[in-house]
């Protein structure tokens, strides 16, 4: 019998408010996620991303195998947990998704508008660059989160991210900190990690990119930040903007030392 059906029934019965239950619904959800992550459909997208990485395409008929993710051209193992980082060739700090799109444009000769015409997954499916990010993330499985802070721009990006994190705006007068600035907060059925502390910040990174079961597609941390902005009723950030890189850097640096478990699974 489908193991998902069994576990869904178990999770459902736990939610039914059994007086004998020793664990909270949140803990049950986490157990459910732990089991689901063992055979995560995200692996199918890791495989797809790996194939994309190795296949020549575009006007330059090149693969992505010369793409430098910070550890040298073509080095994928361990690169995801060492981002965001400074890249000398663009004199900018970039996160993984931004760097992948950059490589698709520069190495393969694809137009930026073409690559990003569907920036995030939706019911049309998972775009290629998202599969590539999933592949790269999988290659940092069980490694410690370690974004560098050696270059002045890396430290500056962290500080900018910290400022944005605390900046209240929009009609709700929300900042990231409003939801994620202290322990023990929750919205509806979702626990909110405290992103200012290592364990909490790690919770914001572990599990992304994540396979969203309800859509059958992959969602990245770029998507997650953009959706946070929507929930705060902020203007929509430009895709792959400095703003998003900065808050990703703030989170990643706060999470340093925690272990990244690879792509996760979401409802």
């Amino acid at each position: 019998m489908n193991i998902r059906l069994i576990l869904a029934a178990l999770a459902g019965s736990a939610l039914a408010g059994s007086a004998m239950a020793q664990t909270s619904p949140s803990e049950d959800f986490q157990k459910f996620r732990d089991v689901m992550e063992e055979d995560n459909p995200a692996e199918l997208f890791e495989a797809r991303g790996e194939e994309y990485w190795k296949t020549p395409r575009g006007p330059k008929n090149a693969s992505l195998e010369q793409c430098d993710l910070g550890l040298g051209p073509g080095v994928v193992n361990g690169a995801y947990v060492q981002m965001p980082r400074y890249f000398a060739d663009v004199d900018q700090v970039m996160d993984a998704e931004r760097r992948v799109v950059h490589c698709m444009v520069t190495l393969q000769g694809l137009a930026f508008e073409e690559v990003t015409k569907q920036p995030f997954s939706n019911d049309k499916g998972t775009p290629d660059h998202v599969s590539v990010v999933t592949y790269i993330a999988g290659q940092s499985r069980d490694m410690k989160i370690a974004p560098p802070q050696n270059h002045p721009k890396e430290r500056e990006t962290y500080e900018i991210g910290k400022e944005i994190f605390g900046f209240r705006a929009g009609p709700y007068d929300f900042s990231c900190s409003t939801c994620h600035g202290a322990d023990g907060r929750r919205i509806r059925m979702q626990d909110l990690p405290n992103l200012t502390k290592p364990e909490g910040a790690a919770k914001g990174i572990i599990g992304w990119p994540g396979y969203r079961m309800t859509g059958g597609f992959m969602l990245t941390s770029q998507w997650r930040m953009t959706d946070c902005f929507r929930q705060q009723r902020f203007p929509q950030p430009k895709y792959l903007s400095d703003t998003i890189t900065a808050i990703l850097a703030y989170q990643a640096v706060n999470a340093r030392g925690q272990v990244y478990r690879g792509p996760g699974i979401k409802r």
Partner: protein, 103 residues
């Protein structure tokens, strides 16, 4: 051919435990697209697994099976290093066959 399956087959005692992830959209035929038209049904109909030429698992699936489905089953009589073949066919006659080694 469709995207490859991810197959894990491990021997535990005298039983081989097989776990498979299949890449498939699994459209029910009941969904509508943004312009209101029905998205045609596209789903896996049969799944077979053979070990040393012998059929060890067979399934007939319908539209209730999830997208990118996960399948788990067990069988006896397998040994480490043996090959296991898994294949599926869907209602559009697309198919996929992959092989795995029992670990």
């Amino acid at each position: 051919m469709a995207d490859p399956m991810k197959i894990r087959a491990t021997l535990k005692g005298d039983t081989v435990e097989v776990r498979v992830l299949m890449a498939h959209n699994m459209e029910t035929g009941a969904r509508k697209d943004s312009s209101g038209g029905l998205i045609p049904a596209h789903f896996i109909q049969t799944v077979n697994a053979t070990h040393n030429g012998k059929l060890v698992f067979a399934a007939q699936w319908g539209t209730a099976i999830a997208k990118n489905p996960f399948l788990q089953f067990k069988f006896k009589g397998g040994a480490k290093g043996d090959k296991l073949q898994l294949s599926w066919t869907d209602n559009k006659n697309d198919s996929r066959t992959d092989e795995a080694t029992i670990a």
